[in-house]
Every structure is written in C-alpha cells, then in structure tokens.
C-alpha cells in the first residue's frame, strides 16, 4: 500500500470544511429544542392514567424508536410535502425530522426520570395544597432533571452524530462538506479522519461539561 498522507488538503480547505460545523450544530440544536419541547409533554402523556393520552404517546414513541432515523428523514422530506402541500427546505425538514426522532427518546428519558422521583415527594407537595402543575414544576422536574442529565447528554451526543445523516439530503453539514472535498481532492483518508476528529471533539466536550454540571448539581444529594 503506498498512500502518503497529504495533510495540506485539510489545512488548505479547513474553512470550507469547518463551515459545515454551522449546519451540524444548527440541526443538532434545533432538533434538541424540538425534542425537549415535544418530549416533555409526550413523556407526561405516556405516564398518564388516561388512555386517550397515554396510547397516542406510546404509539408515537414506538414508531420513532423502531424505524430508522434515515428513513424518517427521507420520509419527512419527500412524503410530507406531498401529503400536506407544505414545502420546506432540506435543512428545516431535517431539523424537524431529527427533532421528532429525539422527542421520542427524550420522552422516555423524562418518563424514567419522573418515575424515579419518590412518590412521597408528590404526597408532601399535594398535602400543603400545591397544584399538580406546581408540584411538577417545583418538586418533580427539578429532581427528575438531575437524574436525567447522563441520559440527556447521551441523547445529545447521539443527536450530534445522527445529524450527519442530513448530508444525504444535501444539507451542507460537516459530513456533506467532507464528501464534497473528498470527491474533488481524491483524499478521503485525510478529509474523513479530520471530520471524525471534529465530531469526536464536539461530543467529548459535551460529555465533559455534562459531568461538571452533574457534579455541581450533586451538592444537595
């Protein structure tokens, strides 16, 4: 095998490559926001004793957890406009798709976190006259969220990685930029190793900050 590394392919084009980070982060953060906003009520509904609330939530969670994310992305990009007549750019459509996917997982994280909070906490809050939502907001969620941090970071990290799927639909994220550069420069090893490193860095940093946050929040335990 005689392949000599030409690192200048990366150094000469690093602005082009790194410009993909913008799309990668935008998709990830957008999907995360959708995931949290939708995941919390879905997780709550999943826990409800009312079947008309819990059944749709279970259905939603199961559908999104048991179909490939790539298929979800493609389906929402190509099929949703046909069914609804709403046309979206690839990046918006991908953000929504990944967000819907993340919501299913985040709903389960919320459910598990809420279920792990001792039932006595609810009794105590209700006994002093606090309403269901006050109890949720002031007592259950603050305790649940602490326990959820590790699972939540996991989900964020996998979202960063899943965001690379959007390159398939032409969103100019890190992976897409790397593919372009690799085809024009014929240097896949340098280019793909470099972006793998970038993904690695983003995810490692995330985990690092999450661990510090976890330690800081552990004061009261």
């Amino acid at each position: 095998m005689d392949y000599s590394l030409r690192l200048h392919v990366v150094t000469d084009n690093w602005v082009f490559l790194v410009s993909g980070i913008y799309a990668t982060l935008a998709v990830t953060l957008g999907a995360l926001a959708i995931g949290v906003a939708l995941g919390l009520p879905t997780g709550m509904a999943r826990l409800s004793r009312r079947r008309w609330l819990s059944m749709p939530a279970i259905g939603y969670i199961e559908v999104f957890r048991n179909t490939p994310a790539l298929v979800q992305l493609i389906w929402i990009y190509y099929c949703l406009p046909i069914l609804t007549g709403i046309n979206m750019s690839a990046s918006v459509s991908c953000t929504i798709a990944l967000g819907l996917n993340a919501a299913a997982y985040i709903a389960e994280i919320f459910r598990a976190g809420i279920q792990a909070v001792d039932r006595g906490q609810v009794d105590a809050a209700r006994s002093v006259g606090m309403s269901y939502f006050q109890t949720l907001r002031k007592v259950i969620l603050p305790q649940a969220v602490r326990r959820m941090i590790p699972a939540f970071v996991n989900e964020t990290v996998s979202l960063v990685k899943y965001s690379s799927l959007v390159s398939v639909l032409g969103v100019a994220d890190l992976t897409y930029q790397a593919q372009s550069l690799s085809t024009t420069s014929y240097r896949p090893i340098e280019v793909f190793t470099f972006i793998a490193l970038v993904y690695f860095l983003i995810c490692t940093l995330l985990s690092y900050f999450a661990r510090r946050l976890e330690l800081r929040m552990a004061v009261s335990d």
Binding site: D118, G120, Q121, D123, A124, A125, R126, S127, V128, G129, M130, S131, Y132, Q134, K138, V139, P142, Q143, R146, V219, S220, D221
Partner: protein
C-alpha cells in the same frame, strides 16, 4: 361548636381488599387523637383519606366544617375542583413517616415553598416565616442545610415546620417516628408535645405507646378497617374492654 374533623361512615377498599369499613369519627378542636393498631389495620389510610391523598369509596368527611372530596353549596353537593381541593388541603398539615422533604431544597426552602406557591406570600415574608418556624422546632442554625446532610430527627422536625407554614387547623401525623433511630425519637415527640400544648388539633398514627398515653386525649384502636375500641389513655391502657385490644396492647407495651 362543630367538630374539627367529622368522618361519617367511610369505607374504602384496594381492589377487593377492604381497608376501611364504615368508619365514623369526630375530633374536637384542640383534641389529640391517637390511632393505634397493627399494620394493615387502616390507620394510615384513614389519615390519608382526611386530606384526600386517598379517595373514599363511600362516606363523607368534613374538616372544620368544610366537606372534603366534594363541595357543598346550600345543601347540594358537586364534585370539587382542583383549586378547591388544594385550598382545603392547605389548611391540613401532614407529617410523613419517611419525612418526604424536598431533597433538592434547603431546610428554609422546604418550609417557605408552600406559602409562596399556594398563599402567594412574597418571598421575603415567606423566608421570615420559615426562619421563625425552624427556630421553633429547634433548627434555627440549619436553615441552609439540605435534607441529606441532616439526621432523621432533624428532617422530621423540618417536616413539621413545613406543615405548620400553612397555618393549618389540623395536623395529621403518619407514624412520624417509625423511621427514626431510637435516640432521635424524643426530639420529634417533644416538638409534637409542644404543638399539642399550644392547642393544635392532631390526629397521630404511632406505635410509641408512651407518647400516646401522655399526649393523647383519646386513643382509637383499629383492626381490619374498623374502630374496635376507643377511650381515654387511662381507659385504654389500664382496662381495655375488647379482647383484641388487650391482645394488641400486650404485644406492644
């Protein structure tokens, strides 16, 4: 004067297992009523029905003349709204066997939370109130401590202060010392004794017969969801009439 608590023919079952059968009870203002009985006798369930942490299958309950579990307007009753239930509950303090302090909050925050959330008190006043109540239960130096850093006895006294913060007319104690190490029981009982001396109406589920005898005005013996016998501590502990009461007391005394 109407009774502070009136329980009228209350029944409740968990599935096919009856836990309360046709229980009736009146508690006067300022009275300390102690519920005793073996596990599964329905003591805790009865307590939890009074502030509607449990719903009843049949029967009616009033606290301070206000119907719990429904709302009565001019003799007609309708289902109570959540706001009505919260309002009624806020006047009934409850202390739990396992303290149930909010673990992510300091002692002060635990006590100040409900006045802010439920009574819409401003936080300066609520903090002052919490400080005063924590001093009252002997924990004026632990305001900023988290529950996990405190002993069981200290936690339970915070639990009492938290319940008192809503200025309740009635205090329910569900085995308040059962989860405590023996040397910590005294400090919690002292706090409760002080409360009874101030005239608080109290219903106490406990296994500490010494306390029942000393502080209780009336002792109720429950078995299988029925009040088998009741009387003054004197009557109950020296000459119980029911053979089941005698048998129970001979085991625990």
């Amino acid at each position: 004067m109407p009774a502070m608590v009136r329980v009228e023919k209350v029944s409740k079952a968990y599935g096919s297992l009856p836990v309360l059968r046709d229980v009736s009870l009146e508690v006067n203002a300022g009275e300390v009523v102690v519920l005793i009985g073996g596990s599964g006798s329905g003591k805790t369930t009865l307590l939890r029905c009074i502030n509607r942490l449990e719903t009843v299958d049949a029967g009616r309950i009033w606290v301070d003349g206000v119907r719990i579990g429904a709302t009565e307007v001019n003799g007609h009753e309708r289902p109570e709204t959540e706001a009505e239930l919260n309002d009624k509950r806020s006047r009934i303090g409850m202390v739990f066997q396992r303290f149930n302090l909010f673990s992510h909050m300091t002692a002060l925050q635990n006590v100040a939370l409900a006045p802010v959330m439920v009574q819409k008190m401003n936080s300066t006043d609520a903090d002052a109130l919490a400080r005063r109540l924590l001093q009252k239960v002997g924990l004026g130096d632990k305001l900023g401590a988290y529950p996990s850093r405190l002993s069981g006895g200290q936690q339970q006294r915070i639990g009492i202060a938290r319940a008192l913060a809503m200025n309740p007319k009635l205090m329910l104690f569900d085995e308040p010392t059962s989860a405590l190490d023996p040397e910590l029981v005294g400090e919690v009982l002292d706090t409760m004794r002080k409360l009874s001396e101030e005239g608080m109406t109290m219903i106490v589920v406990t296994h500490v017969m010494g306390f029942a005898r000393e502080v209780g005005d009336r002792i109720l013996f429950l078995e299988k969801g029925v009040i088998l016998e009741q009387g003054t501590p004197e009557e109950m502990f020296t000459r119980p009439q029911n053979p089941r009461t005698r048998e129970f007391l001979s085991k625990v005394l």
